[in-house]
């Protein structure tokens, strides 16, 4: 009963919020459905994705709609839980009759939602899933935007190897996405001639991370790769701060890309590397990037993260496919997306036969002087990487 109430309120909220778009369309709007995580561990990232979706819908409707019809978004709160995502996507397709679906945030939710969309042969372009598993299921209507997890730490390892650092420690959450990252990092470390001297997977961050941090310090490991979702990432940093331990090179997933990362961790953020699919930086040379950043800031009052950019890119690809197909025929959309090799606001989009992204590569950022700087790849870097930033007094 409680769940139903929440559902009803959510529907009401979104209908009211975007009802004005319908008033200007002569035809019935295109219902586009998705779940967002208004609760749980994906709240922060999912919010950015939701804003990206909304800005796109606004832009399409202001341009006269898609195929002459306005876009109407339908969101449900999945609370960062795969089962709710699975249920809401079913509902969206079967009950709400949405004609198009957008992806939720994260690999677990994407895997859950894609089970429904694949079943209903609805094209889903996953904007926030980097683990390889979703594309190992033989799905035909699922496509990825993110570079996959196995590519995440290539750049970091290349950087430390060329610096002559020949040892690295890997710590990752024991989850699909983070295991993929950790394992891939270990493989790439070997290829770069860097020895993995420590590799630890944890399930309960709050319990295990203090111990792990102490071990790392005890071993005086200077190059560390840490992969987890934001809560555990912040916890890890807190543990290191407690130990007043600052590795020479610390590479992390997700949280360093957040604009508010520096505010949350303070000057300890200096020198921390982060793996990012994209950066809200005007120096990024992709077509439309600068305009997107400006529009997003104008639309939301916030700086877009790569999650928002990825969400917007998802919408760009979907709109382009519909316009080219001139129909909301998901088979035609699927065929078009399968063969697409294009540049989006976050970079290249190209998928293989499994729908896995093979055109996009992650970038390596590093906090320097309170600002995110791109240090890898070479063509996009805004600063050279620095190593061995010590802990300052305010930390």
């Amino acid at each position: 009963m409680g769940n139903l109430k929440v559902f009803s309120l959510t529907i009401f909220f979104f209908v009211v919020l975007f009802g004005h778009s319908m008033a200007f369309s002569t035809e019935s709007p295109i219902l586009v459905g998705a779940t967002v995580s208004l609760d749980g561990e994906y709240v922060e990232t999912s919010a950015m994705i939701q804003l990206g979706y909304k800005m796109w819908a606004e832009e399409v409707n202001s341009r006269g709609g898609l195929l002459g019809r306005n876009i109407k978004l339908v969101f449900y709160d999945d609370k960062s839980k795969p089962e709710l995502a699975r249920e809401f996507y079913r509902k969206l397709i079967e009950e709400d009759g949405v004609e198009l679906v957008l992806s939720p945030y994260g690999t677990p939710l994407t895997m859950a939602a894609s089970e429904i969309t694949e079943k209903h042969q609805k094209v889903m372009i996953a904007c926030a899933s980097a683990a390889p598993k979703p594309w190992e299921r033989g799905y035909r209507y699922l496509f990825g935007i993110y570079a996959l997890a196995d590519r995440y730490f290539i750049s970091f390892l290349d950087v430390i190897a060329r610096k002559g650092f020949n040892e690295v420690a890997i710590v990752n959450e024991d989850s699909v996405f983070n295991n993929a990252i950790g394992n891939a990092a270990a493989r790439w470390a070997e290829r770069f001639g860097v020895k993995v001297v420590y590799h630890k997977r944890f399930k309960e961050g709050t319990v295990e991370l203090p111990q792990i941090a102490q071990e790392l310090k005890a071993k005086s490991l200077d190059e560390i790769i840490f992969s987890a979702y934001p809560p555990d990432s912040y916890s890890f940093i807190n543990e290191l701060k407690k130990l007043e331990y600052k590795p020479r090179s610390l590479g992390m997933t997700i949280v360093p890309t957040y604009p508010q990362f520096y505010e949350k961790v303070g000057s300890y953020a200096e020198g921390i590397f982060g793996i990012s699919q994209w950066e809200s930086d005007e120096r990024i040379p992709f077509p439309g990037t600068r305009q997107f950043i400006a529009n997003f800031q104008k639309f939301t009052g916030q700086v877009p993260s790569y999650h928002a950019g990825s969400a917007y890119a998802e919408c760009q690809i979907l709109e382009e496919a519909i316009r080219k197909a001139n129909t909301i025929d998901h088979d035609k959309i699927r065929d078009y997306v399968s063969g697409l090799d294009a540049m989006t606001v976050i970079g290249r989009f190209k998928v293989d036969q499994t729908g896995r992204q093979i055109g996009h590569n992650p970038i390596l950022i590093q906090w320097q002087n309170g600002r995110k700087e791109i240090v890898y790849p070479r063509k996009m870097k805004t600063k050279d990487p620095i190593f061995g930033v010590t802990i300052s007094n305010d930390q």
Binding site: R151, I154, D158, A161, R162, G164, R191, F192, G193, V194, R348, I358, G359, N361, P377, R378, K379
Partner: protein, 773 residues
């Protein structure tokens, strides 16, 4: 020879260029000294940068290939990895084209992938790798292939590559050496180019325009207002423009000045002409000193203007006029009015006197109260006036004497004829009286008295020039000497006779007896004027009288050479009022003043003698200083003959026709000639003479013809007789005959002349002489 220092002082060019050269050299040396090190460092830094750049390129090439592998998801494809590596090696090999001096090594497992023939020993490989690691991304110096190199290496872990870039020390330093040479030679080259450019620019833009301006300045200094050529707008051109404006201004000014000067010159010239060339004498006086005197006046006074200004001006004024003129100047200076025109005299430096008519006015001269003297030379006018007065006096005297002479001549002629009759009758009486008759003493008394009377009439006739003279060439000096001898014993012994014959010639044509009488009269007069004794000098000299003198003389002189006889006594002198009448007949002061006897005919006869000899006589006298007679007589070229004939009676034969209207003269002549042996025919006038001659011409040998006759005078009768017989011998007799008539007849063949009253001796000699021809 211009010294270097003077060249530097005198030439702007060197003043500018030499400091430029010195400063340029210093700057060049400083530039070389301080420019080369940073330049070398810069070049070496550039080379290092190139080394860094090359090293980065090596990495970039690998990165690019690696990126491709990653992007294309070929990173797990071993073959593709190798292929991309080879492609990267190939691309790295081509980098040498970019930096030929920079060499590269790509080491993989101890082998140089760029050159397979080069393999490194373990030691070498470790050396390189150690160098790479020790460099920590910086350039290190090490030894490769036995040569010192600067080396930079990077490790590329994906392919396990050691990427080495290096450059030998020699190549590394070569740009610096080049740069050093370029800087050194470039500095001096640039410096030389700058100096040459500066030289040319200076010469072209400054020196030449300045020279033009200097030349134009010289032209201006020489008075030629030539403007200089101007080009451009720079400072020199502005100077040139200003100069041209100045020249134009000067030219305008000069033209204005010239105009003013011309006006001034005209004014000055007018003033100078007026003051210097004016006929007037101009002087400015102040405080009896001459401040200004015009040339004409100074020249007229025979002084220089400076002399006159430095001396007392009034010393130039005649003493008789000095006081009055001083008074006039003083009164003028005091502002009083004075008489307008004053005649006064200036004295020249040779003591000659200049008569002027003077005006004086007050003027301001050089800011001082002065007196302007304006005087006109009236000397000539004064002389002319005196001469005219003298001439008028002479003419008046001449006219008076002429009138007196005419009167006296007529009386003397008649009286002479009567004396002729008395003397002839008395002589004839003696022929008829016995030799011892007592009556003879009366007869002799008659003859003697008649002779004295004849002498008196002789003087009268001489004065009136009616007494025909015997004209013969005589030496006047002889006459003077003879008369001096005659008078020497008769005058007062206290009178000294001084003779001074300066004349080189003294031959004149004249009558010796008349001339003797003339000098005797003058000597006696002079001696009588010196009762207490004194000097009586006789001086002769030659003068040439021109036409104007002759015309102004009043004596009818003919221009030519004259002998001038000056007879001067140091006697009492003659009063001026007597002087004008001194030649009047019967005028004498001797009776009245001295009680001496005088006929009053002496000087009258002197006057007549001079006139008869075509001469002139002047007298000047000053009371107390003596009297001077000046006689001028024309010289002749004739030869002097014996002046005095003998008293021998010469008898002859032949027939003589006597023509005379005076019966007594006819009888006298008839008696004398018949007594001499001649046959006589008688005619009473000219016409009768012609009738007789026509009738008796074969018989008549000679005609004795009187001059003054009624019916037909002697002259007309003479020419008629000549018509009848040009060869007939005619002798003229007359006591009063005009010289012109006598000369005409002489020219027409008159054979002889006998002056009345004549004696037997003269008559016999003349007749006999002519009959003998």
């Amino acid at each position: 020879m211009i010294s270097a220092s003077s060249l530097f002082r005198d030439r702007l060019f060197y003043k500018i260029i030499l400091p430029v050269i010195v400063v340029g050299l210093i700057v060049s040396f400083i530039s070389i000294k301080f420019l080369i090190p940073p330049l070398v460092a810069s070049l070496q830094n550039q080379t290092d940068n190139a080394l860094y750049h090359t090293s980065d390129l090596l990495v970039s090439i690998c990165e690019e290939r690696f990126d491709d592998l990653i992007e294309l998801r070929l990173d797990n494809d071993k073959q593709m990895q190798d292929a991309y590596l080879q492609e990267a090696i190939h691309q790295i090999a081509s980098l040498e084209q970019i930096h030929p001096k920079i060499k590269t090594l790509v080491l993989k497992n101890g082998e140089n992938l760029l050159n397979s023939s080069t393999s490194f020993s373990e030691i070498n490989r470790n050396t390189i790798i150690d160098a790479i690691h020790s460099s920590k991304g910086s350039i290190v110096e090490t030894t490769l292939f036995g040569e010192k190199v600067r080396c930079l290496g990077q490790y590329y872990p994906f392919w396990n590559l050691h990427l080495v870039s290096f450059i030998t020390e020699k190549d590394y330093n070569e740009p610096a050496l080049h740069a050093r040479n370029i800087v050194v030679f470039g500095s001096f080259g640039v410096f030389s180019a700058v100096v040459i450019t500066l030289l040319l620019a200076f010469v072209w833009r400054i020196n030449i325009p300045l020279r033009r301006i200097i030349a134009a300045t010289s032209d201006v200094a020489a008075g030629k207002f030539v403007q200089t050529k101007i080009s451009g707008r720079d400072e020199i051109a502005q100077v040139g423009k200003a100069f041209n404006q100045m020249v134009q201004s000067l030219q305008d000014d000069k033209e204005q000045i010239n105009t003013i000067l011309e006006k001034l010159s005209d004014s000055e010239e007018q003033y100078r002409i007026l003051t210097e060339n004016t006929l007037a004498y101009v002087a400015v006086l102040a405080n009896e000193k001459c401040l200004f005197i015009n040339k004409r006046m100074a020249g007229a006074l025979g002084r220089t203007a400076d002399w006159i200004k430095q001396n007392d001006f009034f010393s130039l004024i005649h003493t008789e006029d000095r006081q009055s003129l001083r008074r006039i100047i003083a009164e003028l200076s005091e502002g009083k009015s004075v008489e307008k025109n004053v005649e006064c005299r200036f004295v020249k430096n040779n003591h000659d006197v200049i008569w002027v008519e003077l005006q004086a006015n007050r003027v301001m001269y050089k800011n001082a109260q002065s007196v302007l003297i304006h005087a006109m030379d009236i000397t000539e006018r004064k002389s002319e006036q005196e001469r005219r007065e003298k001439l008028e006096l002479q003419l008046e005297q001449a006219k008076r004497l002429e009138a007196i002479g005419t009167l006296a001549g007529g009386v003397a002629h008649d009286f002479n004829n009567m004396l002729g009759g008395i003397m002839g009758a008395a002589e004839m009486l003696a022929l008829h009286l016995p030799e011892n008759s007592d009556t003879l003493k009366y007869q002799k008394l008659i003859v003697k008295s008649a002779g004295r009377a004849a002498a008196l009439t002789e003087q009268l006739l001489t004065f009136s020039r009616s007494n025909p003279k015997t004209s013969t060439a005589i030496d006047l000096h002889n006459i003077i000497k003879e008369t001096l001898v005659l008078v020497q014993n008769t005058i007062d012994k206290r009178v000294s006779l001084i003779k001074d014959f300066q004349a080189k010639k003294s031959t004149i044509s004249g009558d010796p007896s008349q001339l003797q009488n003339m000098f005797l009269n003058l000597y006696i007069n002079g001696a009588q004027a010196m009762p207490e004794g004194g000097d009586l000098s006789i001086t002769t000299c030659l003068v040439n009288l021109d036409d104007s003198y002759c015309k102004e003389s009043g004596f009818g002189l003919q221009p030519g050479d004259y002998i001038e006889i000056i007879i001067h006594d140091t006697g009492e002198g003659i009063a001026q009022e007597h002087l004008t009448r001194i030649f009047d007949p019967f005028f004498t002061t001797k009776t009245q003043e001295k009680g001496a006897k005088g006929t009053g005919l002496g000087l009258a006869s002197v006057y007549g003698t001079v006139q008869q000899h075509n001469g002139a006589i002047f007298v000047s006298s000053q009371i107390g200083a003596g009297t001077t007679f000046c006689i001028q007589l024309p010289l002749t070229n004739e030869v002097v003959s014996d002046p005095l004939g003998s008293q021998e009676i010469v008898k002859g034969t032949g027939c003589i026709l006597i023509v005379d209207d005076e019966e007594i003269m006819r009888s006298t002549a008839q008696e004398i000639l018949a007594n001499l042996g001649y046959e006589i025919l008688i005619a009473e006038n000219g016409e009768q003479a012609l009738e007789i001659y026509e009738r008796e011409k074969d018989k008549i040998d000679l005609i004795l013809l009187d001059m003054i006759m009624p019916v037909m005078n002697g002259r007309d009768c003479f020419f008629e007789l000549r018509k009848l017989d040009p060869s007939i011998k005619i002798v003229l007799t007359s006591g009063f005959t005009r010289d012109d008539d006598l000369n005409d007849m002489r020219e027409s063949g008159l054979n002889g002349f006998i002056r009345k009253p004549y004696g037997r001796a003269v008559m016999s000699q003349v007749i006999n002489e002519i009959m003998a021809e």
